[in-house]
């Protein structure tokens, strides 16, 4: 019972701030509503019994990704086109289409027999790290994926630096750097 009350409160916060993202005019307000939505989703993860995932959600999503997004919005002055209309004529067709799609999926979902299993393991830090870094030959082998993920993040960082910098190492880019 108590879990249901917590879930409803967190779900209302998450959906409400997601609607705020949809309706806010300034991107910075949208980003802050998105942070609220992500933090309440982290609460739901903790409620469902995956506290480690909730903490990672707060650290990576609400911390790192949203910090990056907010930083870029403020650097690029993301509100400069905020007087153009938020939605155009295409939205009149897109929004009902998405709603109908969600309705169909929801209809199929409520008819499927899924229920919580009483024997699920709580995804605590110890269990999750033990599974993730199980280097035994018969283990699940997630540590290989973990290494690949490190390479992926490194290459993403390199790609971001290469894309965002004007001209690598030229005199011109060093001169104009002060203006930006």
């Amino acid at each position: 019972m108590l879990a249901l009350i917590y879930f409803i409160v967190l779900a209302i916060i998450a959906v409400g701030s997601a609607v705020c993202v949809l309706l806010s005019r300034h991107p910075l307000y949208g980003a802050l509503s998105l942070v609220v939505s992500m933090v309440s989703l982290a609460g739901i993860y903790g409620l469902l019994g995956s506290p480690f995932l909730g903490v990672v959600q707060i650290m990576v999503y609400a911390g790192a990704i949203m910090m990056l997004l907010t930083f870029v919005i403020m650097v690029l002055n993301g509100a400069r086109d905020s007087h153009t209309p938020m939605f155009d004529k295409v939205s009149l067709f897109v929004i009902p289409a998405v709603l109908v799609l969600a309705g169909l999926v929801g209809f199929a979902l409520v008819r499927s027999p899924i229920a919580f299993d009483a024997a699920t393991i709580r995804g605590s830090v110890a269990i999750t790290s033990k599974t993730l870094f199980d280097v035994a030959q018969t283990g699940p082998g997630y540590f290989v994926l973990f290494e690949v993920l490190g390479v992926l993040l490194l290459s993403a960082m390199g790609a971001a630096v290469l894309l965002a910098k004007k001209r690598l190492g030229s005199v011109d880019s060093e001169k104009t750097e002060g203006k930006h």
């Binding site: 879930f7 990576v60 999503y61 993301g78 971001a160």
Partner: protein
């Protein structure tokens, strides 16, 4: 009344739909990125919700896979924002409709 596994999936569906609407119908490019992030969040929630319906050993998988999905989302946001900065230099606008011309 207890917390049902279905409620989690319904919540994930609602948030995914809102994220899809934000990503497709908003014109500001930052809102497009935020909509994608919202949809990714909903997918992670769905992963965890389904993981809790599995018995003991199998339920760990559904709680490890979202970690990878979160890390891939971080890489996606990093490259996506760098591309936004790059296009913004050429177009001087954050309206996604002005990005329709692909000539560099």
């Amino acid at each position: 009344m207890e917390l049902q596994a279905m409620y989690v999936q319904i919540l994930a569906l609602v948030i995914f739909a809102i994220g899809l609407i934000v990503a497709v119908s908003r014109r500001n490019v930052f809102f497009v990125l935020m909509g994608v992030e919202l949809a990714l969040n909903a997918v992670n929630l769905s992963f965890v919700g389904f993981a809790k319906t599995l018995p003991a050993e199998a339920s760990i998988v559904g709680q490890v896979v979202p970690l990878f999905s979160i890390a891939v989302a971080a890489a996606e946001a990093c490259v996506g924002l760098a591309m936004v900065i790059l296009i913004f230099r050429n177009r001087e606008s954050v309206d996604a409709d002005t990005y329709s011309n692909m000539k560099g």
